[in-house]
Chain length 430, copies 2
Amino acid sequence: MSKRFRYCIIGAGAAGLAALKTLRDLGIAAECFEKAAKPGGHWHHDYDALHLITPKNSSFFDDFPMPADYPLYPSRQQVCDYIQSYVDAFQLHEHIHYHSAIEQIVPQGEQGEGGWQVWVNGEARHFDGVLVANGHLWDPALPPQAADFQGISLHSAAYRNTRQIKGKVLVVGFGNSGCDLAVDAAQQRFDTTIVMRRGQVFQPKALFGMPRAELPFINELPAELQNSLMQVLIMASLGNWKNYPGMPQPDSFNLDEQPPVVNNLLLYWIQHGRIAIKPAITAIENKTVTFSDGSQQQYDTILWATGFHTRLPFLADELLEWQLGVPLRTAGMTLPTRLENLWFVGLAAPRGAQWPVYCAQTRLIARMIELKQQGMRNLAGLFARQQVAETRIDIVRRIWQLNMDETHRTLDMLTSLSRDDYQPVVAHSY
Amino acid sequence: MSKRFRYCIIGAGAAGLAALKTLRDLGIAAECFEKAAKPGGHWHHDYDALHLITPKNSSFFDDFPMPADYPLYPSRQQVCDYIQSYVDAFQLHEHIHYHSAIEQIVPQGEQGEGGWQVWVNGEARHFDGVLVANGHLWDPALPPQAADFQGISLHSAAYRNTRQIKGKVLVVGFGNSGCDLAVDAAQQRFDTTIVMRRGQVFQPKALFGMPRAELPFINELPAELQNSLMQVLIMASLGNWKNYPGMPQPDSFNLDEQPPVVNNLLLYWIQHGRIAIKPAITAIENKTVTFSDGSQQQYDTILWATGFHTRLPFLADELLEWQLGVPLRTAGMTLPTRLENLWFVGLAAPRGAQWPVYCAQTRLIARMIELKQQGMRNLAGLFARQQVAETRIDIVRRIWQLNMDETHRTLDMLTSLSRDDYQPVVAHSY
């Protein structure tokens, strides 16, 4: 090949590392830029109580199982060590620039058909394409009320452990982080309340002593029956909202129609009186919180487990189509709808283990890279016309997998396309 | 009634208090002697992490439900407060002597047919009968190896919280206390190992979000089907020993054939790598523990959750028939096999809520008291011939209940017995 193509990967978290290793294995030259001093991303500064939600048996980078002596659900520190050993095992370090926050990426040609100019450490470099793996769990989303609270106020992103908190604790949000934070506070004997402004079917981490992903007899059922059986098993294991005083009724019992929140301990401590439930916050004044049922209570600490904004600070927002705060994507959630030679790795959370997703996305991207190198133009536009672009990040895994499969078939077709297949007729005016 | 009968109750723990209230409600004069300064027994000095294992909906003294704002599984402190409020509500204080350890009780007549001489605070008093409610969870049973350990060594009876421990922690014993202690240490981020020298089917605290006792559709099944369904539900919820690395296979999956150990969290933290399992201890030297698989490990702390001896320090052991360290009893486990006018309240743990057991036992005892007052002799001997005496303390509740029912029927019969029913024939020699 006369021209030497080079690709830029933004971020050396799990997604960026998976992208780097996968591209290089396929012979595609790539460099990774990481703003921090080491690889691993958010795992280094997540809260101490964090364990992997998905089991180690399915949660690993391609070609790199977790150590045999790891528990089924490794701790945050074990995950950090695992990621570090991945970098070491495949000698990824030499392809990563640390302390290198990407300042700006600029499309060459209106949509990046000519590649991308990448600004880092005050210098511009040219890349034939960019893989964006900067994460979507770093820019805290806080409700406006948060500014009114005069006690200790921490977003989950800043929370490490109970040494940061004191007194009566209110946790706002009941996603996976909110549950973990409430449980952490309760287990350290803080008077703990969690805000639940709607119901939720909480899923146990294991059924039959095994993680969901390891229950093959369930996974082989038709989707509808999978859901029904899961509902029954969850009910047998954890009951329903009525068993937990103060819990609102879920809008749906269909697991596909609500975020997946996997937590046994929240429910356990609610039944032991160590975590109370309150409805939505309507106002905060000084340290007094007013709830939608009219009740008021003083708190010393509020932990905001209220999620994150998706942000791409290095890319002009108007270059992407945004919906509900997320750029629209096709092709397994990797491809923006109107930019060329730019892909996302990891701006997708198909339910279940995440690291295999990053590897699979990168293999898909590698096929698109090959097509682009062979001269295919307007790939983003083609897929935007073929597929319904996704605004979600959380997605039922089998839905995402169907889209991955369809995308691979489309790429098969595009790859086999020759000039003979398509002879544009020049339009004449009569 | 010409003679005024008086009864002595030993201990003002939950069992003694239930006995005092129940006897007095039935018009039977009773006084309670308590060695401590307040009522409530072991609940005052149990470990901080203790919650009631059985739910508040079934766990209460007759006529005295737990407060409506209590959680399903109240904490140790809430139980203490509940017991105190029971004493206050029924004005039991005036019938309790505090700081009054019973020194000795001496049968009047060889077996106590003439009542009992009770020595307390250096003085002897006569009572027509004694109800022994001194508890069976206060005299720590330690294996001989315990003396060899040079680190921090605490029996569960002396354990309060993790401020007492440090470093690498080994918990010996996997009954309810052993599980609680291991979980407490693990949740406070101690490196924790539990010794399991045999397997165990751990039961979840709740199924369908409800305590076992509140699953009426299960309780209405025949006993054998109850067990089968429970096994299936436990398996669906928690799996089996294979799902927990290092756990030995249980000798049986029949819940009736093993101690009831109710704990979700031990299994949870094992799967998260926060509690490890080791087999039986074969030797201890200084801080090094050798296990039956040949492995050795240093520990800084050993917590011995190795149970308790049953002791009646105020009663000459030879007056009772002992087997496996427990006095033999009939009649709902209240009646020793060869002593009259002496009963046990609470030396029995029919699976499920305990406080109703104490009340039911006392109502049964009250019937025997009435018979004794009417002149019935050798009641203990009669029951010892009619029933197989129990050596157990832990007993499947329906087995205990069957024995209670049978005992009530026998008492019906004995109560209706008149001189006309039985005319002894004097034996002649020809």
